[in-house]
């Protein structure tokens, strides 16, 4: 029986706590008597018969007819699937997407459906490399569909292949992939890593155009998204997406949503110290920690990055549900919360976050400074329900080297964003008004997004907007161990050590602040009361 998550109050006997620092780790002592560490629940047991569970979900969907009953010869079937941005690190083969899509294709074949297209629902993310597609879908699907042009990636800039399905009463234009819009049935295959994802967000972002996304991916919307991972009614983003979803349900093609959840078994056995609780480390885990950190500090960062990105996580499936999107998503959320929710009493003055080497926007790439902000303030800060772990006006301390390093293939517009936009403003609303359009419409970025493996020109804005609420909420943000000039460019304060950071924070929260540390990587949602 896996143990639930819990909150450890730090005292003098508490061993140092593990912090991520990009492509390395450190052990840090938190102030005794006024600090706490939130540990995620242990991984839930995996489904025993995954393929059987998938088949059952397809044959007994929620609020819909069984999938085979919706398939018929001559129909246009589109299978869309989540892209490479999750799960992190990448999943050991066979990937969930492969298992589910193979089951769907088997049923389609039995029903005599031969007009099947598979579309990677990228939204404005970078196109997946062929090796990533092959990894996610398996050799059989890739070899059968890719050479025939029936497995491809959504293009949010291909206006000949986008279709407007309508406009919400808030003026949001629903514009999605034309093939999907004109299909008799869309089967969407989702992997739900965090509560923010899935539901109507899958199609209305993954298969949407820039025009459609720009309705809700704004600084204002994200500032007013006070519960990205919790209650939808407090998320301006999700309210907008659900309006678009309702429109899609009423005016679009039939949708068969398949959502899956994973447990938090994210790293292979040899890296077990990452998710173990420090006082329970075995002698082998202690030795592995020492050897790993020592070795990583000696190798060039590029090599360390390569090592980390080569890791494949077990990511065991804990549930699969299919059918009507809203109903399916409610079950998914319940399962995600079952795995990730940790009850926490009250807020503290300081929240500390170890920032890892990867976030959803740099698989197989560089965690550039904008993504450090996005990961810290956009993702980890938002891993709460009810209210943030840190009080309003408190301090967020992150640990990451925050090097001025960018992946020119994946993130070309991020480089310009860092050099052009951030020196001008770090205010998400101001930058949206002043700079976003030029980046969104830049012909070169369009070209790289459409033909290379680059995130869309506007994507650094979206990454920045993701942290808008955290940026507004925190009285100060400090990055420990980051390149000072780069950290300042982000609008944050650099510190050399965690103790220095606490000293700097004392200007805002006094000399004896309370501290919460979110123990990542294993994902958790703090249910703060």
């Amino acid at each position: 029986m896996p143990r639930p998550g819990f909150v450890l109050d730090v005292d003098r006997s508490t061993p140092p706590t593990l912090f991520w620092r990009g492509e390395n780790f450190s052990l840090e002592r938190l102030p005794a008597g006024r600090s706490r560490v939130i540990y995620p629940p242990e991984p839930l047991p995996a489904l025993k018969d995954i393929d059987g569970a998938i088949r059952t979900a397809l044959l007994h969907p929620i609020d819909q007819d069984p999938l085979p009953a919706q398939l018929f010869p001559g129909m246009r079937l589109t299978i869309a699937f989540d892209d490479v941005s999750l799960p992190l690190p990448k999943m050991r083969r066979p990937d969930t997407r492969q298992r589910v899509i193979e089951a769907v294709l088997d049923m389609a074949a039995e029903a005599g459906v031969d007009d099947v297209h598979l579309i990677a629902a990228l939204g404005l993310h970078r196109r997946m490399h062929d090796y990533e597609l092959r990894h996610a879908l398996g050799d059989r699907i890739f070899d059968a569909f890719h050479p025939r042009g029936m497995l491809y990636q959504h293009d949010a800039e291909d206006y000949d292949n986008l279709a407007v399905l309508g406009t919400t009463d808030h003026g949001e234009v629903l514009e999605i992939n034309k093939r999907a819009a004109e299909s008799d049935l869309i089967v969407y295959v989702n992997i739900n890593s965090v509560p923010m994802d899935g539901g109507w967000k899958s199609i209305t972002t993954g298969l949407a155009s820039y025009r459609c996304l720009s309705a809700h991916h704004t600084g204002e919307t994200l500032q007013n998204t006070r519960s990205l991972m919790g209650h939808r009614e407090h998320s301006a983003l999700h309210k907008s997406i659900w309006r678009l979803g309702t429109l899609l349900r009423d005016s679009g093609p039939k949708i068969f949503q398949i959502e899956t959840t994973l447990n938090t078994d994210m790293f292979p056995e040899q890296f077990s110290f990452i998710s173990s609780r420090e006082w329970e480390w075995s002698a082998r885990e202690r030795a592995t920690y020492l050897a790993t950190t020592k070795a990583l500090s000696k190798v060039p960062v590029k090599m360390a990055r390569k090592i980390f990105h080569s890791i494949q996580g077990p990511h065991q499936m804990t549930s699969v549900q299919a059918g009507e999107t809203s109903a399916v998503h409610e079950r998914t959320l319940a399962k995600v919360y079952e795995q990730q929710l940790v009850h926490v009493e009250g807020q503290t003055d300081i929240l500390t976050l170890g920032i890892p080497f990867v976030c959803p926007y740099n698989p197989d790439g560089v965690m550039n400074p904008i993504l450090v902000m996005c990961m810290g303030l956009g993702y980890l800060f938002n891993m709460y329900r009810n209210k943030p772990l840190v009080r309003e006006g408190g301090v967020i301390i992150m640990t990451h080297p925050t090097y001025r390093d960018f992946d020119p293939v994946h993130h070309p517009s991020y480089i310009d964003f860092f050099e052009q936009v951030l020196p001008d403003t770090t205010d998400p609303v101001v930058m949206g008004q002043k700079w976003e359009k030029a980046y969104a419409e830049d012909e070169w970025y369009r070209h790289l997004y459409r033909t290379g493996n680059a995130y869309h020109g506007v994507h650094p804005f979206y990454a920045w907007y993701w942290g808008a609420h955290g940026q507004q909420w925190a009285g100060k943000v400090i990055i420990v161990g980051g390149d000072p000039s780069t950290v300042r460019r982000l609008g944050f304060t650099p510190a050399s050590t965690l103790d220095d950071a606490f000293e700097i924070a004392s200007d805002v929260v006094g000399r004896t602040p309370t501290v919460t540390h979110l123990h990542v990587p294993a994902l958790l949602v703090a249910d703060v009361h």
Binding site: I415, D416, E419, Q420, A438, D442, E443, W444, H447
Partner: protein
């Protein structure tokens, strides 16, 4: 009383080159520049007068000379030994009209050299293009400050032709006056400004002054700014000044291609932009800067070399393929000085003089000038004014 003299000493010149390769400005300590006693120069003709310099600037071309990196091209255009210093504000000695403070137009044109008839360029007023710079009754000399007969500003006395003198308005300080000559160069360069998208490489003295001159032209309505001006600057003080003097964008040199690309909405082929800036004004003059200029200039655009380039190595295929024009931009006409005074006054450019030295401190002065940007300075000058109480 003393003066700095540059002599023909090849071994010392070579030593300066080696020393400066280790640390720019170190050539002064080992090179052929030396502090020597005063020597009164003969007046070449009755049109000539004696000047007593007040301030004399240290220019990039002076540093190249002292550091042994100047091109051999100049050999026939200078006469040894000579006293450097061509950015000069001085008092005229024994002027019949009383006290007279002047700046020097250092170009030694046909009229100054007593050559009649004057060459076509001088006849057209383009004294900077004089075809007789090594002829006439003077020894060869590109400008005062490179000619053995005229002396130069790095001394307590030099001689100049009356046509070389421009009176300094009373409202300008000596510091303002000493930057009039480089500002005249900048005014000449700014004449090339088309109003279209322009990149200025370098925010040292020439980069900043060219920017200031362009801004004044635009303010006067002589040219309409239809595209942004992007300036590269390495150091914080340069960035601050460039913004103040009218740059739309100030960026680090390695950021320039990306700024130009986004401003011109170009695509990229390898390292080459498909579009680019219509005009690139290179105020650095190194292989890297000229190469970068070719990388960011638009097809059929113009690269203007304002900084003295010396020996550079270039990959010029793009120049051929894109029909780019590289054009030098040297000095000024007499009329440019009047405009330069207006530019200096408009921006109080005397504040660019960040440090002054006595002649005996020339090692420090040259080292400072060679590292001015890093040390937060734009212009360094020798202060030759008599000290109070002496």
């Amino acid at each position: 009383m003393s003066r700095l003299v540059f002599s023909r000493k090849p071994m010392r010149f070579a030593a300066a080159r080696v020393a400066s390769s280790l640390m720019p400005g170190r050539g002064a300590a080992v090179g052929p520049l030396s502090l020597e006693p005063d020597e009164q120069l003969a007046l070449p003709s009755p049109e000539w007068v004696r000047l007593r310099p007040r301030l004399a600037g240290i220019c990039g071309s002076d540093i190249a000379l002292v550091d042994g990196t100047a091109s051999a091209y100049f050999d026939p255009l200078v006469s040894y030994p000579f006293v450097p210093g061509h950015e000069v504000v001085a008092d005229v000695v024994d002027d019949p009209d009383g006290a007279r403070r002047v700046v020097l137009i250092p170009v030694l044109s046909c009229e100054v050299r007593g050559i009649t008839p004057v060459c076509d360029a001088c006849a057209a007023g383009s004294v900077n293009l004089c075809e007789r710079a090594a002829f006439g009754h003077l020894e060869p000399g590109l400008q005062s400050g490179f000619c053995t007969d005229t002396g130069g500003g790095w001394s307590n006395e030099m001689v100049a032709h009356r046509l070389q003198l421009v009176d300094v308005p009373a409202d300008l300080s000596d510091e303002d006056a000493v930057v009039i000559e480089p500002t005249a160069c900048a005014v000449h360069a700014a004449e090339r400004y088309s109003g279209r998208h322009t990149a200025i490489l370098g925010a040292g003295t020439m980069g900043l002054l060219t920017l200031a001159a362009i801004t004044v032209r635009a303010e006067r309505g002589e040219v309409e700014r239809s595209g942004p001006i992007v300036v590269t600057a390495r150091y914080p003080e340069q960035r601050r000044l460039a913004k103040e003097l009218g740059a739309d964008v100030v960026c680090a040199p390695d950021e320039l291609p990306r700024w130009v690309r986004s401003a011109s909405q170009s695509l990229v082929m390898g390292d080459q932009l498909t579009g680019g800036a219509a005009d690139v004004i290179d105020c650095v003059g190194t292989s890297d800067s000229v190469q970068q200029a070719l990388r960011v200039v638009a097809p059929a655009g113009n690269v203007h070399l304002v900084g003295m380039p010396g020996n550079v190595t270039l990959e010029m295929t793009s120049l051929w393929h894109r029909e780019t024009c590289i054009r030098g931009c040297y000095a000024y006409s007499r009329a440019d000085f009047a405009r330069a005074i207006d530019v200096v006054r408009r921006f109080s450019l005397g504040r660019l003089v960040g440090a002054t030295y006595q002649l005996r401190e020339f090692h420090d002065a040259i080292a400072h000038a060679a590292n001015a940007g890093r040390r937060g300075t734009v212009k360094v000058a020798f202060d030759l004014r008599p000290k109070e109480g002496k």
